[in-house]
């Protein structure tokens, strides 16, 4: 009811009240009047009725005027003020007008002051937020520039080894933009596709044992590049620095350097040095012996003298040629080293003991350990070598117990792998040194000899007849001096300032895939172009395009696109659709070559396609021939559209894109369609959530219920 309505109602009520009062007075005055009295009153009323009604009417009019004045003075200004206050919520610049009574005006002034204050606060907060955002953007830009300009590759992972960040250089190191490289390095992918899980595990264990710092290891890429990798744990944000206990880690960073060239040049330099020293020793030895003999035995016969002079001439010439050759090939060489690290010998033994016990299931005990002995070695490769020997001893000679011993021998350290009871021929064991190591299915191109040489040591097999036992002795360079390099991150007392993305949160990986939330899964959205629509009648895939979605982000730069030679004719009708001519397909790989790579690209993701049944049918039909099985769960945007918009006539990709406000560019290239499909899919996620479809299992169940799910190819 408006204020006017209220006014009318108030007037009516007031007049009615007045009438009621007059009637009540008349009743009280008239009650109990008898006979003559009553006649007098009646006569009086009859005569004065007109005047009485007049008085009553005047009273009513007066009431109306009074009420109207009060309404104008009190109620109306209040209603206006209320409206103005509502407007003020939306428009902070609006103020209440000063109307009505003095009390009301005082209230309006107070409200206006509150509004002023609020406006000032808002402005202040906005300024601060803007400054903070600007600072954050600047940090982020600086960080991005730093990352992209770094000469080293950087990959950051969470503790599960999922890649959270990588830079351009890292991507270039891992096969650039090739399909294999894409399959190996990407956000959300496992870093263990790039590096041996044990290498990283070993590095992290070692860092933990030392209470911080970083560690290097060497790895080789598929393409044969030799990489030097630094691993450093990333302390958990908000961790209490004062807590002297173990700092908790939220992930780790790897910095990668390509040392192929420097290593090659170092090998070349080593070779040169060896040429100049070791292989000169023989000729110099012969020369010296001959010269000294000539000098010391002047009484020799002329014929003997001639023989010795010939030796001198021959050997001098050989040495001259060798020096000449060395000088020629002594090109400028870069200084680089194998990552030999100082480590406490006892640490290496403890690690070896655990590793051998785990790998070979042989009990290992420590015998005599020089606790103060530091080594300068590549610990990981040495562990590999020891485990390899242990495994062969166990497998081939049934050795059931091993002992480890570490003693000092001058500048060298003796690391012994000891067993008792069984002796084998020296020749057998010498061959172990030269076989490529094979450790429970993992074959290394290196031999134990390679490893020992890399570590600047020697290895041999020795018997201890008295104690009825035998051992392998690794003679390794000891390291004198202070042990260990300074920890890099151990003393970091605040989180790194340049980096604050929400990347390290734990995923609910314990849940079964079906129960995981759609928003948290990683997807490969793909599309194929084909020679026709009938896969079971010989139509073939001629192009696959795919993009990835990780953490609800479409990763356009991690796209995959591949043309495929269908090894059959190309119908003209299909060329009109996809515009791919036979000339473009000549020389492209076959489906059998492509599918294993594509399979690696989609690893650990959920597949998404528009009308997926069609694309999946093509892939299924190739399963027998290629042996490549696509068994990841599949979502279909066609069916999801039917779930979301059951009353629409069409669920074509263009129609859905238009409905969801996705612009369509580059249709009918496989990657173009994959991108549109991915964008559509991302728009669908919140709509599905509104319908209570949140998990993968729910989405699949809802899809299957739609009518369209019955289409078969």
């Amino acid at each position: 009811m408006g204020t006017r309505g209220k006014l009318v109602a108030a007037v009516v009520v007031a007049c009615a009240y007045l009438a009621a009062v007059v009637l009540a007075l008349a009743f009280v005055a008239g009650a109990g009047l008898e006979g003559q009295d009553r006649a007098v009153v009646d006569a009086l009323l009859d005569r004065r009725l007109g005047a009485l009604v007049m008085v009553f009417c005047f009273a009513c009019v007066f009431m109306f005027l009074m009420l109207r004045a009060a309404h104008g003075f009190l109620v109306q200004p209040l209603a206006r003020a209320a409206e103005e206050a509502v407007a003020m919520v939306e428009q902070p610049a609006t103020r209440l007008g000063l109307h009505g009574s003095g009390e009301l005006q005082a209230l309006a002034v107070a409200v206006n002051r509150l509004a002023d204050q609020r406006q000032r606060h808002d402005a202040e907060i906005e300024t601060r937020v803007r400054a903070a955002n600007a600072a954050a953007d600047a940090d982020r830009n600086r960080f991005a520039v730093l990352m992209s300009e770094l000469a080293q590759g950087v990959i950051v992972c969470n503790m599960d080894g999922r890649v959270l960040l990588y830079n351009r250089r890292a991507r270039a190191l891992f096969a650039g933009s090739s399909a294999q490289g894409m399959a190996a390095l990407g956000l959300g992918r496992s870093i263990y596709g790039l590096f041996d899980r044990h290498l990283i595990g070993y590095a992290l264990e070692h860092i933990e044992a030392r209470g911080g710092g970083h560690r290097h290891f060497v790895s080789v890429t598929e393409a044969g590049r030799l990489l030097r990798v630094l691993v450093a744990p990333i302390p958990e944000a908000g961790g209490d620095a004062a807590d002297a206990g173990k700092p908790r880690c939220s992930g780790y960073m790897t910095m990668i350097e390509d040392m192929t060239e420097s290593f090659d040049s170092e090998s070349a330099r080593d070779q040169l040095l060896q040429d100049l020293t070791e292989s000169s020793r023989g000729p110099v030895g012969s020369l010296r012996a001959a010269a000294e003999t000539l000098h010391d035995y002047g009484d020799m016969s002329a014929e003997e003298r001639q023989r010795f002079l010939a030796v001198v001439r021959d050997e001098a010439e050989r040495i001259a040629l060798r020096v000449e050759a060395a000088a020629r090939s002594f090109a400028a060489v870069l200084k680089s080293r194998w990552p030999l690290e100082e480590m406490l010998g006892a640490d290496l033994l403890t690690a070896a003991r655990r590793r051998i016990a785990e790998r070979c299931e042989i009990p290992v005990s420590l015998e005599e350990v020089d606790a103060g002995l530091w080594l300068k070695v590549d610990g990981f490769s040495l562990l590999q070598a020891m485990s390899y020997f242990a495994l062969r001893l166990h497998d081939e000679y049934g050795i059931r117990e091993l002992r480890l011993r570490l003693t000092r021998d001058g500048e060298m350290a003796c690391l012994d792998l000891i067993w008792s009871g069984v002796f084998m021929s020296t020749e057998t064991v010498m061959n172990w040194e030269l076989d490529p190591m094979n450790l429970s299915g993992e074959t290394s191109p290196l031999t134990v000899r390679d490893i020992v040489e890399r570590n600047g040591g020697e290895v041999w097999f020795q018997r201890d007849h008295a104690a009825y036992r035998a051992y392998f002795r690794f003679l390794l360079p000891a390291f004198s001096g202070q042990g260990g390099s300074a920890p890099l991150l151990a003393t970091v007392d605040s989180r790194p300032e340049f980096y604050d993305f929400d990347l390290f949160r734990d995923e609910e990986t314990d849940l079964a895939l079906e129960d995981r939330l759609l928003a948290q899964l990683s997807y490969t959205v793909f599309d194929t172009e084909t020679t026709g629509l009938n896969p079971s009648e010989g139509d073939e895939i001629i192009q696959i395009g795919a993009v990835r979605i990780v953490n609800r982000r479409l990763l356009r730069h991690e796209a995959y696109e591949q043309l495929i030679d269908p090894q059959r004719s190309l119908p003209a009708a299909s060329v009109k659709i996809h515009g791919i001519g036979a000339d473009m397909l000549a020389g492209q790989p076959s489906i059998g070559q492509v599918l294993p790579i594509f399979r690696a690209f989609v690893a650990d993701t959920v597949l998404v396609a528009h009308n997926a049944a069609f694309d999946m049918r093509f892939l299924e039909l190739k399963e027998a021939a290629t042996g490549v099985r696509f068994d990841r769960p599949v979502l279909d945007t066609f069916l999801l559209s039917a779930v979301l918009f059951p009353n629409q006539e069409t669920h074509r990709l263009e129609a859905i894109a238009e409905r969801l406000g996705v612009s369509v560019l580059g249709r009918h290239t496989a990657v173009g369609d994959a991108i549109v499909t991915a964008e559509v899919f991302l728009k669908m996620l919140p709509l599905l959530a509104e319908k209570g479809i949140r998990s993968l299992g729910e989405a699949r169940a809802a899809s299957e219920k739609t009518f369209h799910a019955r289409i078969r190819y």
Binding site: A289, E292, D314, R473
Partner: protein, 123 residues
Amino acid sequence: MATKILIADDEPNIVISLEFLLKREGYEVVVAHDGVQALAQVRAERPDLAILDVMMPNRNGFEVCQDLRQDPEFKTMRIMMLTAKGRDTEVSKGLALGADVYMTKPFATRDLLAKVKALLERA
């Protein structure tokens, strides 16, 4: 009976000098040109001292040395190793495998003769 010494080296130019020197010192000298030949010569000629080069074809000096030391018959035979590799680790390996003396090329002929003499005079 003259003291017999085996020289096992595949490098003829050093053999010339060693053979001449040792003969002049009054030793009887037997020569082998690789590892297999050296083992055969030791068994056939039973020398008092074997001078083994490390880098030899077929079987290297380390292997010959280790084989000989496993045979109780040659447990006490003197063995001197000559090598063109001078690394400490190799010296240690040679001595660990049973060589009595380890000499690195190039060596002084006088030193060599003195070492041979000392070895043979040792009881």
